[in-house]
């Protein structure tokens, strides 16, 4: 199931990546009837992609640590008091769009990468946290009782029973967080971070369609390829997708 659904995602990603190549993008814009202007060359595009990836990777690592850690904490007996606060925070985070988070972080942290990273983490933690906490809370009581009867310690129950049972939901949370991270990093261009959003924003400002299209397709390609990579990784370790 996982491996099969991965193919269209990866194919879309590769197709979009091909569209971002300067020659292809220039031709498309030409076909749309616009006078071709200077395109971003491959080196510049790759450099921006790398910067985008570094931001997304760092953010996602922080998101994974925070989201999983807090999610586990909130479902332990001691952390039960945290659940309402987490649900309220998650609902609150929904109401604040990523652009606004970046803008507000900008006034605290200044221009560049840091506000984008902060927004990326603040925004990405919530879906993962909620997914983790929800999935761990939904682990059947019988499974835990059986593990206790077998003499497993709390730590063993967590790593051998609860987390494997919750894994599909956690992967879904990570996928959402990844897509949000790629999008937020692109928005970060507004705060002066150098990412694939930079040519889009610059292109929109001075009506230069070719780099705009290149940035847009490359950003979308990154989101699809990252999603495919996560799906592939999950399939590799034997996590099937949850039935919806």
């Amino acid at each position: 199931m996982s491996a099969r659904s991965l193919i269209p995602v990866a194919a879309t990603g590769l197709g979009l990546a091909a569209l971002s190549h300067p020659a292809v993008a220039s031709r498309i814009v030409g076909a749309l009837g616009e006078a071709p202007r200077r395109a971003l060359d491959v080196d510049r595009l790759l450099a921006l992609t790398l910067q985008h990836l570094v931001l997304v990777g760092t953010g996602l690592a922080l998101v994974a640590i925070l989201g999983l850690g807090l999610g586990i904490l909130a479902t332990r007996a001691r952390g039960a008091a945290l659940r309402p606060a987490i649900d309220a925070l998650a609902a609150g985070a929904q109401a604040v769009p990523p652009v606004v988070v970046v803008a507000l972080a900008l006034s605290v942290l200044g221009f560049g990468g840091p506000p984008t990273l902060l927004a990326l983490v603040a925004y990405g933690v919530m879906p993962l946290l909620r997914g983790t906490a929800g999935a761990l809370a939904a682990v059947p009581r019988e499974a835990i009782a059986a593990a206790e009867a077998m003499g497993m310690t709390r730590r063993q129950i967590l790593t051998r029973v609860e987390l494997p049972l919750a894994a599909p939901e956690i992967v879904e949370g990570l996928r959402t967080a990844l897509v949000l991270a790629v999008a937020t990093a692109a928005v970060g261009a507004l705060a002066g971070a150098s990412t694939l959003g930079t040519p889009i924003v610059a292109g929109l400002q001075n009506q230069n369609t070719v780099p705009m299209l290149q940035g847009a397709t490359a950003t979308a390609a990154l989101a699809f390829l990252g999603d495919a990579a996560l799906l592939g990784l999950a399939a590799l370790v034997g996590i099937s997708r949850p039935r919806t």
Partner: protein, 376 residues
């Protein structure tokens, strides 16, 4: 009890230690922080006493009367704090050149957070349905009256607002127009797509795939496409469509709303139990009658739920409309970012967040009422 003590200690630390106001010579230079003692003066002990009493009452027990008393105390302390910050800023700005600014510091935001949590807890303790929205509405009204009466005129947020009152109001209308336009495009599109029974797998794949595309990227691509479309069919220009403006923004917003709406519609149509559908067919109801009398009434909560998710998303996405020249509150946020003026960013961000929260609350209350089977 320990939680209450910790809460009071935290508030005291915030009011005494964190900057309530930041005073600057103009809106670009970093300011000098002013803490609670300096800003609030004699009001500080009164605020702390009221807040501590409220926290203590909340800790004593689950009684309803206790909740009401705590709510009143917390509200009084919050109003006193807001008023004192306003007059404190006024005192500091008196005799200063007009470029000088008194911005709200971290302490003011943290204190606002504290009082929001305390009032929320107290409202929950009173257990009276409808009290939460009533208190929120009352606080909003009080704040609006305070602004109108000039209680906060010295705060830089109010100064920015006074300087761009018209811009803010236009931006608000544009924002609502963009979000509404997106919804208006997405709803018929989703209904049409749902009618194509055999293509639902493909529709799901495409509609889900759109969610993966970052909004900035989709808007950029849409601007390029609209530009091309206009060159192929210049007649569209007469209809008011342009490559930069509301058209690509609304199309982009609508694209993202299709997934929640499509899922909600599918769930709503599946809502009646198969037995009831069999019974309806047995009674000789036509498909149209089954749709109108059975599927839609029973699926109404799912429909409202989908509309809630889509509306909140639309209000958030409309912020990006400013990127493609469609205006909206995002323009104020982007102006603030470009000028590095935090208060200008807030001036755009606060209405965006308020609109989303209000839409969320209203529609989820409607959804809950429908689920409970009470006709709304």
């Amino acid at each position: 009890m320990i939680t209450a003590l910790a809460g009071v200690a935290a508030l005291a630390a915030v009011l005494l230690g964190a900057p309530l106001l930041v005073i600057a010579a103009n809106r670009l230079v970093p300011g000098v922080p002013a803490t609670g003692w300096a800003v609030l003066g004699p009001a500080l002990p009164a605020i702390l006493a009221c807040a501590a009493l409220a926290a203590g009452l909340l800790a004593t027990g689950p009684g309803r009367g206790v909740g009401i008393a705590a709510l009143l105390l917390a509200l009084a302390a919050a109003c006193l704090l807001a008023g004192s910050i306003g007059s404190g800023a006024d005192a500091r700005m008196a005799g200063q050149p007009p470029a000088a600014r008194a911005g709200l510091g971290a302490g003011a935001w943290l204190a606002a957070l504290w009082f929001t949590a305390a009032i929320g807890l107290a409202v929950r303790r009173v257990r009276c349905p409808g009290l939460g929205p009533a208190v929120a509405g009352l606080l909003g009204l009080g704040l609006a009256l305070g602004v109108r009466a000039g209680a906060f005129d010295a705060l830089s947020l109010a100064v920015e607002y006074a300087a761009r009152r018209e811009t803010v109001h236009t931006a608000l209308t544009e924002h609502l127009g963009l979000a509404g336009g997106g919804l208006g495009l997405a709803i018929p599109a989703v209904i049409a797509l749902s009618l194509w029974r055999r293509g639902q797998d493909l529709v799901g794949l495409v509609v889900g795939g759109i969610q993966v595309v970052p909004a900035v990227a989709l808007l950029g691509a849409l601007v390029a496409l609209t530009g091309g479309l206009l060159r192929l069919a210049p007649a569209l220009r007469d209809l008011g469509v342009s490559a930069l403006g509301p058209a690509p923004a609304m199309a982009g917003i609508a694209a993202y709303l299709m997934l929640p709406l499509w899922r909600g519609l599918a769930a709503a149509l599946r809502a009646p139990a198969p037995d009831s559908l069999d019974a309806a067919r047995g009674l000789g109801l036509t498909r149209a009658q089954i749709l109108w009398r059975l599927r839609l009434p029973l699926g109404a909560p799912q429909l409202v739920g989908a509309l809630r998710v889509a509306t909140v998303q639309a209000l958030g996405l409309a912020t990006l409309g400013a990127l493609v020249g469609a205006g909206g509150l995002g323009r104020i946020v982007f102006d603030g970012m470009a000028q590095f003026a935090p208060d200008l960013i807030l001036l755009g961000a606060i209405p965006i967040v308020a609109l989303s929260v209000a839409a969320e609350r209203v529609l989820s209350a409607l959804e809950a009422r429908m689920r409970a089977g009470i006709p709304a």
